[in-house]
């Protein structure tokens, strides 16, 4: 036994709380170590002094006052049973209060945890997404865009439709053709049915102007089987003489083994078949929103047409001048002018053709979303019990999935969480000590 051990056991040695063996070892040590035996003596002296400290005498009248209080307490104890419990249970009561407080505290923590699990799990599980029963797997998400890149089809860029009413002030330049398009178009607009134009237009006189209506549709619909739906609509459109200009498909959610697809299709269809196509889409999928608009491009069309005619006349004149040109300088100037006019004519012709194209081929922007069967089942007549049972099972599943997610995230966050928790516990202990 070394001195340190002896010092640690001094207290017990003095009180005789050591075992026989330990006591023997201590005795042996004291024989050899003067320091320790001196220490022992000092301790003994100190304890002796403590033991001999004079007892404090209670102040005069202590017993009398105590007796009074006891009698008061007795009265309270005897007179009112309910009061008894109040007074006697003062200690108890406070304990109960503490216990209740603790209960609230732990319940609060538990409730907070449950809320966190539920909200987190449900959010991860896509419970608030339009479709029910959809779990979300983040690892699959990264893969989806790659698949997309493969399935994406060619896209064609088309200049945006300009409103015909923009170009009113072009009348000044019209030398050869009076522009009364405005009247015509407003009159014709109301009468313009879906299919009263007669196919691609050719150059025409001011006298038999054709009304140019561009039909566009925006449809948002849902389907149970995305692939089948797209295949069907593709073949249908092809049979009607249209085509799909742009198909943008993506996986937007993965539920167990099923991928749920979402797509934006740009369908071009001959204007005569427009209504038929819309009806077809309505028949084969669940249309959620539909917006069909008709824009009148007549005015714009004829303005451009007039411009072209003017420019062509100008070109003709220039060519005559070119014949008469004497110097090279003059010839170059005229050639420059001719080039400019030609470019303008070409660009106008292109936009005229574009209008023609859009008039003859209507555009339908179709947004399709794939949903699980459950989304449709809701509509069918089910018993309230069946539905609530389903809901119950779903909730349980969601909680289980949420808990799984929580565990995964807890473990992945543990490098941060564990130190935080340790700090929290230390703080808690410190607060308790205070």
């Amino acid at each position: 036994m070394n001195c340190n051990e002896v010092r640690d056991n001094l207290s017990l040695y003095i009180d005789g709380e050591l075992s026989e063996d330990e006591k023997k070892l201590m005795d042996e040590h004291f024989k050899t170590c003067s320091d320790c035996s001196k220490e022992l003596e000092e301790y003994k002296k100190m304890i002796k002094t403590l033991r001999e400290l004079p007892k404090e005498e209670p102040p005069v009248g202590y017993c009398k006052r105590l007796k009074d209080k006891l009698l008061n307490a007795k009265q309270a104890k005897m007179s009112d049973v309910s009061e008894i419990s109040e007074i006697k249970g003062h200690e108890k009561l406070s304990k109960v209060k503490v216990n209740r407080f603790r209960w609230v505290k732990y319940a609060g923590i538990a409730a907070a945890l449950v809320v966190v699990v539920l909200v987190y799990g449900m959010n991860r599980g896509g419970a608030w997404a339009p479709n029910r029963n959809i779990a979300y797997n983040s690892s699959e998400e990264a893969r989806a865009p790659q698949e997309e890149a493969k399935s994406e089809e060619k896209s064609k860029i088309i200049p945006e439709v300009r409103d015909g009413s923009d170009s009113n002030d072009n009348n000044d330049g019209n030398e050869y053709f009076a522009s009364d398009v405005g009247d015509n178009s407003t009159a014709g607009y109301g009468a313009a049915g879906s299919g009263d134009s007669k196919g691609p237009t050719t150059l025409m006189d001011a006298k038999d102007k054709e009304i140019k209506i561009i039909k566009t549709g925006n449809i948002y619909s849902r389907t149970n089987d995305y692939g089948k739906f797209v295949d069907e609509i593709t073949s249908k459109i092809e049979s009607l003489g249209g085509y799909i200009e742009n198909n943008n498909t993506q996986v937007y959610q993965v539920y167990e083994n099923d991928k749920l697809m979402h797509g934006n299709l740009k369908i071009r269809i001959p204007k005569e078949k427009f209504d038929e196509t819309v009806r077809y889409i309505e028949g084969t999928s669940e249309v959620r929103s539909k917006n069909i608009s008709e824009a009148d491009a007549t005015k714009e069309y004829y303005e451009k047409d007039n411009k072209v005619k003017n420019l062509e006349a100008q070109e003709q004149k220039l060519r005559e001048l070119f014949e008469k040109a004497a110097t090279v300088e003059e010839m170059l100037q005229i050639e420059n002018e001719l080039g400019r006019i030609r470019t303008e004519i070409d660009s106008l012709n292109i936009s005229i053709e574009d209008i023609d194209d859009r008039v003859s081929m209507s555009t339908i922007s179709l947004e399709v979303e794939e949903v699980m069967e459950a989304g449709f089942n809701l509509k069918s007549e089910e018993g309230i019990w069946k539905r609530s049972a389903d809901g119950f099972i779903n909730t349980v599943n969601r909680i289980a999935r949420g808990a799984e997610n929580l565990v995964v995230h807890f473990i992945s966050l543990s490098p941060v969480l564990v130190p935080v928790i340790i700090i929290f516990i230390i703080l808690l202990i410190k607060i308790k000590k205070h």
């Binding site: 207290s11 403590l50 033991r51 404090e56 102040p59 017993c63 209080k69 006891l70």
Partner: protein, 193 residues
Amino acid sequence: MRNSELLLVEQSRKGDVDAFEELIRDYKKNAYNIAWGMLRNIQDAEDASQEALIKAYINIHNFNMQSTFKVWLYRIVVNTCIDFKRKKNISTVSIDENIDLGENNRLHREIADNSGNPDILIEKNFNSSLVNNAVNKLDDNYKNIIILRDIQGFSYSEIAEILSCNLGTVKSRLNRARKNLKGIIENEQKIQC
């Protein structure tokens, strides 16, 4: 537990104040002393010890006979004093301030109370007041255990029951308390020399 004590407990349960007074006759002085040791103020010691005794009287039906009445009573006294201190929020600083006041009073009283050989008396007083002061400077936990073990002379197991902790805690805490106390005394002696 003594039979007479058992009888007194039974009678006290029925509300007999006299029986209860008889029951605590041997203990109330110690109760007061424990309270005084912990609170170092005559008025507080009286209030706290009396509050504890009243509590014992009111709650005597909760006394389950598993421990001795003495231990059960002193547990109430110690807990009441700890609560009392907490309620009054007596900080260490204010205790230090009180020491000077209390010390003067106490010294005066001790000299008046004691009789015998004046020389021995002075020497003893010197020592005991030094030690007494040192006890007061201990942390509450250490102070309590020194009061119970060295001043009141309870056994280890009794202390464990009174303080509601296990025997190992009592042993280690007492060891540390004594070490600290000795350190404080040695410090004081140095200052005085």
